[in-house]
């Protein structure tokens, strides 16, 4: 009975389901510990805060996970976040235009990444490292190094406002996550991503559009990073040149904790989001314990190693 619930023993789907349950159990454990330590933790308000805090990383990690599925890696996401926010808000006064411009920028950079990886056969690590550095240069050259400062109220509203008590940012994230989940698990393009990541050569021989698959993965990542950048500046309240710093590595860590394999072909939206939530919850636990914030980095590093070790053990079995 249990086996059926988990999708059957020994099946691919069953393995995936068990991984997600494991993550969920871990999240509950963390929340449980936090509640014991500080009973005030388990309030709707506090949980909502954690979710909002985790949301920008949530967007980025979905994109990062999809890129990792096709055997890639996107180091440019943080740079896209900052550049999209800085340039679009700096250039356009109209919020809607700025929003569209940011998404287009994200898509463009993702397209360049994908082109370099698929057509020029540049290692994903180096291709996205290069675009990361170039974007950084463009951004700083545009702002001359100074933060561009003020932010239209509409952005602040998007990041901090709510609709009937539900924060806008969460509505958007859940919407994006549902679409991404459906795409990866239930649609033809999603299956193409997974198959390509599992064996690019076999995908080519099976008539799958290899280059288009790779490019679209990076475009998705770029667009989601741009969205995350806009929400993050809205949440923080200032447009800064270093917006999103650290998100490239955090998103890779979360994707891996969430079950994506750097060898490609594996990954899930739910796992990635749970992992992002776990990272942010750990941050919270450190604060509640009254420990110095830096302690969170130590815990995070240890957690990344632990998670990776767990998955390695399972794939070997």
């Amino acid at each position: 009975m249990m086996a059926r619930l988990l999708g059957g023993t020994g099946t691919v789907r069953g393995r995936k389901t068990r991984e997600i349950l494991l993550l969920l159990a871990f999240l509950i454990l963390i929340w449980g510990i936090t509640t014991v330590l500080s009973p005030r933790f388990l309030s709707v308000k506090n949980i909502t805060d954690i979710l909002i805090q985790a949301a920008p990383l949530g967007f980025v990690v979905i994109g990062q996970m999809i890129v990792i599925v096709v055997r890639g890696l996107d180091l440019s996401v943080a740079s896209i976040m900052a550049t999209a926010a800085v340039l679009s808000i700096g250039v356009f006064d109209n919020t809607a235009t700025a929003f569209v411009a940011a998404l287009l920028l994200g898509a463009l950079v993702g397209g360049v990444n994908g082109y370099l990886v698929s057509y020029r056969r540049v290692t994903p690590f180096l291709a996205t490292l290069a675009t990361m550095i170039v974007l950084q240069g463009i951004r700083f050259a545009y702002t001359k190094g100074a933060p561009s400062g003020s932010l239209p109220d509409t952005f602040r509203y998007l990041a901090t406002g709510d609709v009937g008590g539900v924060p806008v940012i969460l509505i958007v994230l859940i919407g994006v996550a549902c679409v991404a989940h459906w795409m990866l698990e239930r649609s033809v393009p999603g299956r193409q991503l997974l198959l390509y990541g599992d064996n690019p050569e076999a995908a080519h021989m099976s008539g799958l559009p290899a280059k288009r698959i790779v490019i679209s993965a990076y475009v998705i990542s770029g667009v989601l990073a741009a969205i995350a950048g806009l929400f993050l500046v809205g949440y923080v309240g200032i447009v800064d040149n270093w917006t999103g710093q650290g998100y490239e590595l955090d998103s890779i860590a979360a994707a891996v904790i969430g079950g994506a394999s750097l060898r490609g072909g594996k990954g899930s939206v739910i796992g990635a989001l749970l992992a992002a939530l776990i990272l942010v919850s750990l941050f919270n636990i450190v604060v509640i314990l009254g420990l110095s914030i830096e302690f969170q980095m130590v815990v995070k590093g240890a957690l990344i190693l632990l998670a990776a070790a767990v998955y390695i053990r399972r794939t070997r079995d």
Binding site: T11, V12, R186, Q192, N199, E201, M205
Partner: protein, 506 residues
């Protein structure tokens, strides 16, 4: 007769309840070359691993110069003078010939530093002794596969050896390269070394070996001097049944219908001449030739997975902008030679593997239809008797034969009118082979045109209605009906090259 250098007496090996080798006797004599033959899974590599200390026997013993030995690992057997050239290369392409040959055995000076000069000199000496003409300072990535194989042999023989075991050494060599390899082997035999030659290629065995030992399902079914054998006797010992049982009867002459696939002046990578070829519905055409003669490249070019120029017609319509996706849509499907490298999706389920080239089937807009996918794959599992508990299991859990059945099932989902099959029975057990042959014949009877690339002459002879022989990138002969014989094919395929070969009218 002299005492054997290396011998197995009553060797038995079981893994759990699975007995893979039963009471095997095997002798390697100085100055002789014994062939170890058998189908995949017959126990050849298990026997080798038992004699070199990789495995420990469940029963029986290994004798070296008449004394029982128990090697704790390959290091000990190497130290005892047993050299092995494995099927999998151990050469490293970034290192030079000298670095490769003496890897982990580099000569060092008193300070522990690698003595580059001695390294180079030792390598030159060894290569000269073996009759191998290579520059010790060339990195391996500049060498051909055959030359890398030579380096592999030199590496195995860098310390004094009495026995040399070669595990399928010619799997990747062309015939000229094989000639060179055989010359070296005869030299070594002349120097008094005992050779073991593991292969299932009969023509090679008859050319270079002096004795033969045939394994089937873990038993020695036949052994003796090679002179007492002919092809049929070896095959019977290997397969355990006659050829007639293995292959379905051939059909009559092909229909008069127009060609399902026709090539006009196709030039693939490495083609020596433009290639013209017609495939008619209902016939199984063999593409024979030695490895490296350009058969795979030709098939890939037709399928659109590799570059090629020239005209292709598919069911009478021009098909010039070739790509795998377009080929599949147009009813042209291809099975690849290397299942692991470019056929399987190892981490995914049987159902996903099966449906990989027909993702859109039953899909509404972009939404997959997982239920129909599962049903379709279940029906294939039943039809081909694939041994699997559940189509959701990872494909990597299946045996080679079952994996191959799933891949063939994948191809048939595209309802192909033309099938290109590159080594369709490689790494597949005999029962599955027979099943694949029957399936292909049935497809042909349903009107599919089938092109089979195969290095197994028995297969080409037993299965095909018509055979084209390829040599050095060109089609050099066409054999039909009774003219299709192993000797006939080999005569053309391995003929000395140079100049334009006359096209025999057979």
């Amino acid at each position: 007769m002299a005492d054997p250098v290396l011998a197995a007496r009553g060797l038995t090996k079981s893994f759990g309840s699975n007995e893979v080798l039963r009471n095997v006797d095997f002798e390697v004599l100085a100055g002789r070359n014994i062939a170890l033959c058998g189908e995949n899974g017959a126990g050849k590599s298990t026997l080798i691993k038992l004699m070199t200390g990789v495995y420990t026997p469940s029963a029986g013993q290994v004798l070296l110069d008449g004394e029982p030995v128990a090697f704790a690992g390959p290091k000990e057997s190497i130290a005892a003078g047993i050299a092995v050239v494995h099927q999998e290369f151990s050469t490293i392409s970034a290192l030079t010939v000298a670095e490769n040959v003496f890897l982990e055995k580099e000569p060092r000076n008193r300070l522990g530093l690698v003595d580059r000069r001695t390294l180079r000199r030792d390598c030159i000496d060894l290569l000269r002794q073996l009759g191998i003409d290579l520059d010790p300072d060339t990195t391996l990535d500049r060498l051909s596969v055959a030359e890398a194989q030579m380096v592999e042999i030199a590496k195995a023989l860098r310390s004094r050896a009495h026995v040399l075991i070669l595990d399928e050494p010619t799997a990747v060599l062309s015939h000229r390269e094989i000639d060179h390899l055989f010359r070296i082997l005869r030299d070594l035999r002349g120097q008094g070394m005992g050779l073991v030659y593991v292969s299932h290629r009969l023509d090679e065995i008859f050319e270079v070996c002096t004795d033969i030992c045939v394994l089937k399902d873990g038993d020695v079914t036949s052994a003796g001097p090679i002179a007492d054998y002919d092809h049929d006797r070896v095959v019977a010992a290997m397969v355990g049944r006659s050829l007639g049982e293995l292959f379905p009867p051939k059909s009559g002459p092909a229909s008069d219908a127009g060609p399902a696939l026709s090539l006009r002046g196709l030039i693939a990578e490495g083609s020596a001449a433009p290639i013209d070829l017609d495939l008619r519905p209902g016939e199984i055409v063999g593409l024979a030739g030695l490895v490296g003669s350009g058969r795979t490249e030709l098939a890939l070019a037709i399928f659109g997975a590799a570059r090629g120029s020239g005209a292709v017609e598919l069911s009478g319509k021009a098909y010039n902008r070739r790509a795998p996706g377009r080929s599949l849509a147009g009813g042209l499907a291809m099975l690849t030679e290397d299942r692991k490298a470019n056929g399987l999706f190892p981490e995914t389920s049987v159902a996903w593997n099966f449906a990989a080239s027909t993702l859109g089937k039953g899909a509404r807009a972009l939404a997959l239809a997982p239920r129909s996918e599962e049903e379709r794959s279940r029906s294939v599992v039943e039809r081909f008797k694939v041994v699997v508990d559940h189509v959701g299991q990872p494909i990597s859990a299946l045996s080679g034969g079952n994996q191959q059945k799933v891949l063939i099932g994948r191809l048939l989902e595209n309802t192909p009118k033309v099938l290109l099959l590159d080594e369709p029975t490689r790494g597949v057990d005999v029962a599955t082979k027979a099943e694949i042959y029957r399936t292909l014949r049935r497809l042909a009877e349903e009107g599919v045109a089938v092109l089979v690339i195969s290095s197994e002459l028995i297969e080409v002879v037993g299965l095909c209605d018509r055979v084209h022989v390829m040599r050095d990138g060109a089609l050099v002969a066409e054999l039909i009906g009774n003219a299709i014989t192993e000797d006939g094919i080999m005569a053309v395929a391995a003929a000395a090259t140079g100049g334009v070969a006359p096209r025999p009218n057979v």
